[in-house]
């Protein structure tokens, strides 16, 4: 299972309007192997969705622009494919995407059956109506919806059921890579658990690789193999599950994220949120992007971009660890 499926190198994406240029993604690297699930974690505006849309080449045409970097999928450079190849071979066929808000992600005037069969129809060579209908039934069953409901419209479904339809659309052509952009954010907690469990099962059954975009570390713990934490368009920490959930060494931002989760084992009156806001992505500071909110901020952090500290699979972009290596002392934290 070590076949490399997706490789993102030094990806930089901006949104350019007449007023400002927003640096949404600033040189990120991601490697995903076949069948693996990567959790892409970060708060709103960190560039998670932008990264996903860049892979699909679905950035808003007028404003969104890939400045530099490469996305290689199954050995092919996504940015060099023709529009027609992109549509026919990649979108919906090899890479599928699940969107954040199931309430608006479906076309309100088409039956859900038609919306699913479209995905199949536009990726099959010969059109065989009966065959397509059978596949629609199959994929609906797969996500736990009775095929008898395929002639209903989205407004006749509840939120959780709509998200299942969105997932069914994504799975219709059995993609190799599934990008799930906060698939459970718009759902309530009980439905969240159901949908996540179902996605996990489907992934295991179909062997699909997955990028799970979320700001919920609980979701990551439940379903992912690898984690990348994004902050202001950069990946500031990445590693496998042990590196993130067991290891004691963390980027201060990741620590903040964990500090903001209620812990059942310890009693606390208040959660400790990360103070302050993410820097304005149209005016990123010199040096480390997290400096203003970081309690460990040093002089060097305001001058130079942090270097990446590597420990096996665990990567952290922070000067704290650089210093520690140099000084060789063990516990410097708090």
């Amino acid at each position: 299972m070590k076949d490399e499926l997706l490789k993102i190198e030094k990806l930089e994406v901006i949104y350019k309007t007449s007023e400002e240029t927003v640096q949404a993604v600033n040189g990120i690297d991601i490697v995903l192997n076949k069948g693996e699930t990567l959790g892409l974690v970060g708060e709103t505006g960190a560039g998670k969705t932008t990264t996903a849309l860049s892979i699909m080449r679905l950035l808003p045409e007028r404003t969104g622009k890939v400045l530099s970097g490469n996305v290689t999928f199954e050995g092919e450079n996504i940015f060099e494919l023709s529009d027609e190849d992109m549509r026919m071979k990649i979108r919906g066929e090899r890479i599928a995407m699940i969107f954040q808000d199931p309430m608006t992600a479906l076309n309100p005037v088409m039956t859900v059956g038609d919306q699913i069969s479209e995905a199949i129809y536009y990726h099959s060579e010969k059109t065989n109506a009966a065959g397509i209908a059978a596949r629609v039934d199959k994929v609906l069953e797969l996500v736990g919806i009775s095929p008898s409901r395929k002639n209903e419209y989205p407004h006749q479904f509840s939120g959780g059921m709509k998200q299942r339809v969105v997932i069914a659309i994504a799975l219709a052509c059995e993609p190799v890579l599934l990008i799930a952009d906060e698939p459970t954010t718009a759902l309530d907690v009980t439905i969240q658990a159901q949908v996540l469990e179902m996605m996990g099962e489907l992934r295991d059954r179909l062997g699909t690789a997955m990028i799970m975009i979320t700001h919920d570390l609980g979701v990551v713990a439940q379903i992912c193999d690898k984690v990348a934490v994004m902050y202001a368009g950069e990946i500031i920490e990445s590693g496998n599950m042990e590196d993130i959930f067991v290891s004691k060494e963390h980027h201060p931002y990741t620590e903040g994220l964990f500090g903001a989760i209620p812990d059942l084992a310890s009693e606390a009156k208040r959660l400790s949120p990360i103070t302050g806001l993410m820097p304005d992505p149209s005016r990123l500071p010199q040096g480390c992007n997290f400096q203003e909110r970081c309690s460990h901020c040093m002089e060097i952090c305001t001058k130079k971009n942090p270097e990446t500290y590597v420990n096996g699979t665990h990567k952290i972009s922070c000067f704290l660890f650089k210093n520690k290596e140099d000084r060789g002392d063990g516990d410097e934290k708090k």
Partner: protein
């Protein structure tokens, strides 16, 4: 093939529950009665308050006083306003009698009916022309927002919406009849005669349709479901014409319906400039000669058609948007 199949499913799925549709239509048609009585009252009152004595108009200003008095008595003009109005409504309800034209002495519908085909042809061709250029160009304008073609279309459509109909009509006559001599300046002896009136009527309405199509399409192509469709690899033109346009159609159809009604009754200017014998020019004639029965009956007819068109528009809503159908034709 796939499209045909899905289309069939849609048709069956959408107009199931036929009994409910019939019930709804009946209700709407019954509602028409008070509306038409109201329209009749308004026109009756307006005609009452406009200056001029119908009897004098009919006989001429030099007619002797006794003759005028006699005619007034004969037409029932000496009775009080309310009595005349209720008498008018009573005759319509009991005998479908809309009165006689004071000008031609014919029952009013004998004057009106031969004119319906002319007005109806003009209205249908006008709205067809307006829709056929309004919707595709509106879509083009939205899809290629801020491009050269969009800018040209926006400027031209703004001008066309703003231009007075009579001016456009005269300009067309000047260019195509006087100067180039390609088209007749008036009359409907052949269908060629309809070309310029249709352009005159359809141009401004088509521009209105273009503009509303553009703005709703701009909204729709930024919706999440369009992104979903792109993510599943649907070709661009299908996304635009099948997904986005169908969602954008509601306000567009409302505009088309309203414009259809407006062309039906309001092509007065085009009908007089191009001397078409339609209902619009009959109304003008009736107003000029204070022929109240003709005016009221013509306006009632136009109001009736307008209401029918709006009913058709509302039914189209249910056809296009299943959410509206679910709301009004529930429980299948």
């Amino acid at each position: 093939m796939y499209n045909a199949i899905s289309c069939n499913i849609m048709l069956v799925g959408r107009f199931g529950g036929g009994v409910l549709v019939i019930k709804y239509v009946t209700k709407r048609l019954l509602l028409l009665i008070p509306i038409l009585i109201g329209v009749a009252f308004l026109i009756f009152t307006i005609m009452e308050f406009t200056p001029g004595d119908p009897a004098v108009k009919i006989l001429g200003i030099e007619a002797p006083q006794e003759a005028v008095e006699q005619l007034r008595e004969q037409l029932g003009l000496n009775r009080p306003f309310a009595v005349r109005f209720f008498d008018y409504i009573y005759k319509i309800v009991t005998r479908l009698d809309f009165g006689m034209s004071w000008r031609t002495k014919n029952p009013v519908f004998m004057d009106i009916i031969p004119r319906i085909p002319v007005s109806a042809t003009l209205a249908f061709l006008g709205i067809a022309f307006a829709t056929l250029f309004g919707i595709p160009l509106g879509v083009l304008s939205a899809v290629k927002q801020y491009s050269k073609s969009d800018n040209v279309l926006r400027v031209v459509s703004t001008i066309l919406v703003a231009v007075p109909t009579f001016w456009l009509a005269m300009l067309l006559i000047l260019a195509f009849s006087s100067y180039l001599a390609w088209l007749p300046a008036g009359g409907v002896h052949s269908y060629v005669g309809y070309i310029m009136p249709v352009i005159t009527c359809g141009g401004p309405y088509g521009s209105a349709i273009l503009r509303i199509t553009r703005s709703t399409m701009l909204e729709e192509i930024r919706q999440d479901y369009v992104r979903t469709a792109r993510a599943k690899g649907v070709p661009n033109n299908i996304i635009i014409y099948k997904h986005a346009l169908q969602n954008a159609l509601l306000p567009v159809i409302t505009t088309i319906g309203q414009n259809f009604g407006a062309i039906l009754g309001g092509s007065v200017v085009a009908e007089s400039v191009f001397s078409l014998p339609g209902i619009g020019s009959l109304v003008i004639l009736g107003i000029k000669s204070k022929d109240t029965p003709t005016v009221i009956a013509s306006v009632l007819l136009i109001a009736f058609f307008f209401a029918i068109v709006m009913l058709a528009v509302d039914l189209m809503y249910a056809f296009i948007d299943p959410r509206i159908k679910a709301k009004y034709f529930k429980a299948e």
